[in-house]
């Protein structure tokens, strides 16, 4: 049930430095260091380190290293930063799929194109699921079937991923036979 044969799903490669760029910014939803293939001179590295791990992480060392207390704060800062950026930037993004495409959306809104953004999925496979009926976003879904937090429908989590919404689509599984809902399986840990 985890592979539904949908060909439009994004495929992610490992991150490598694109030497045609002049400035390089790595943005991660986690708090780990950038991959070695990126970590050369002049890489800026923005990570998210929740307050709970502030005392446990080593101090930032690199010149361009910056930590944010939340992804939301990182996202807002990124928007302001890109608004003043010039041509020549390359953006590398690492994290769960919804984070990748949220960042992609911010970057695209500021003029970056697909030759300038590189994405790598890591961390949880939990899905943001949009209910196609009431449009509610259900965050962190790990199961094949989920009750919509908005309308209460039993949603089948399709592999159909929207890059624009950074979300998978959930459709009512018991539309033909109301109440006929199979057992949900944990599929997206």
């Amino acid at each position: 049930m985890t592979d539904q044969g949908i060909k439009s799903r994004p495929i992610y490669a490992t991150l490598r430095r694109d030497s045609s760029g002049r400035r390089h910014l790595y943005v991660s939803a986690g708090s780990g260091p950038p991959p070695d293939a990126l970590a050369q001179d002049g890489l800026e590295s923005w990570t998210v380190a929740p307050t709970t791990c502030e005392g446990t992480l080593p101090r930032p060392e690199g010149v361009g290293e910056r930590r944010f207390r939340s992804t939301r704060y990182l996202m807002e800062t990124l928007g302001r930063r890109l608004a003043g950026e010039r041509m020549g930037l390359r953006l590398y993004v690492e994290g769960p799929e919804d984070f990748l495409w949220d960042v992609y959306g911010v970057a695209q809104a500021h003029g970056l194109g697909r030759q300038e953004i590189f994405l790598k999925q890591s961390g949880t496979l939990a899905r943001r699921v949009q209910c196609v009926h009431c449009k509610t976003f259900n965050e962190g879904v790990t199961t094949t079937i989920v009750r919509c937090a908005g309308c209460g429908a039993n949603l089948f989590v399709r592999d159909h991923f929207s890059r624009r919404l950074s979300a998978f689509q959930g459709v009512k599984i018991d539309a033909e036979q109301p109440g006929d809902v199979p057992q949900a399986e944990r599929a997206y840990p």
Partner: protein, 314 residues
Amino acid sequence: MILDGTLPARVAGIDSLSPTLKRFRFEPERGCFPTAAPGAHVLVTLRGPERVWKNAYSLVTPPEARDAYAIIVRRVEESRGGSHFLHDHLRPGDRVEIGTPASLFPIASLARRHVLIGGGIGLTPFLSFLPVLRERGAAFELHQYCTDAETETFGRLLAEAGGAVTIHGSTSRRSVAEILADQPLGTHVYTCGPERLMAAVEAAALDLGWPSHSIHKESFGGAEGGKPFSVRLARSGRSIAVSDTQSLLEALEAAGIEAPCLCRGGACGVCLTGVIDGEVEHRDHVLTEAERADGKLIATCVSRARSDALVLDL
């Protein structure tokens, strides 16, 4: 969609813009011309007493103009004769055939800013960009490089078009790299003009880290002459001579062969034809280095033979 066929038209007016530049206005024999995309060009068929030219020219009329098309042509001393014919023989009222417009040089719809860099008569496709960019309220700047003698001529053309325009004469000019440095994210650059200018624009943009998708070049040069050679057509067994002022495509057309073509400037690849034997002098902008080295394809509109003869899969 690429429309086929030609549009019968008449020369409605000829304006002399400078000693070497003329603007030709064509009106349709019947009805309206099709709407052209910004940056579109048309093939104009010129029937001289001894030969026929089919030359591609950018439309300088606004894309929505359907009552008339206009082109601007420079009279080139060392030309294959097409520009001489236009300048010296074409008169108002003369009939011409115009191909349906095609654009290989569109405005990038996702761009957030547009930098247009023209060189000499390479300004022409931008004259159809400008009304569209202004109407869309797009952020743009236009830089026109030309000789000091022509700054006034191009200034007048651009005064009609309006917009954020800088004209760079030969004695005082900003470098392309200066123009491209410090452009915001989402900027696209478009260039049309001499090969050296376009190569400089591309090199400067790449050096500043611009992705290749944001660099657009229009090769308007068309065919240049060269050493005469002959071609043999493998399928029909015919042999055709290509003179020093003719392109291979023109020689094929003169022999009555319906060879495919679109831009006639080595930019679109529609005319690529298989080469069975002989060495090609590649002058197109379509084939990759590997394909050139392979020598199995020729862009008939611009490329010629390095050997005395070619055998084509035609």
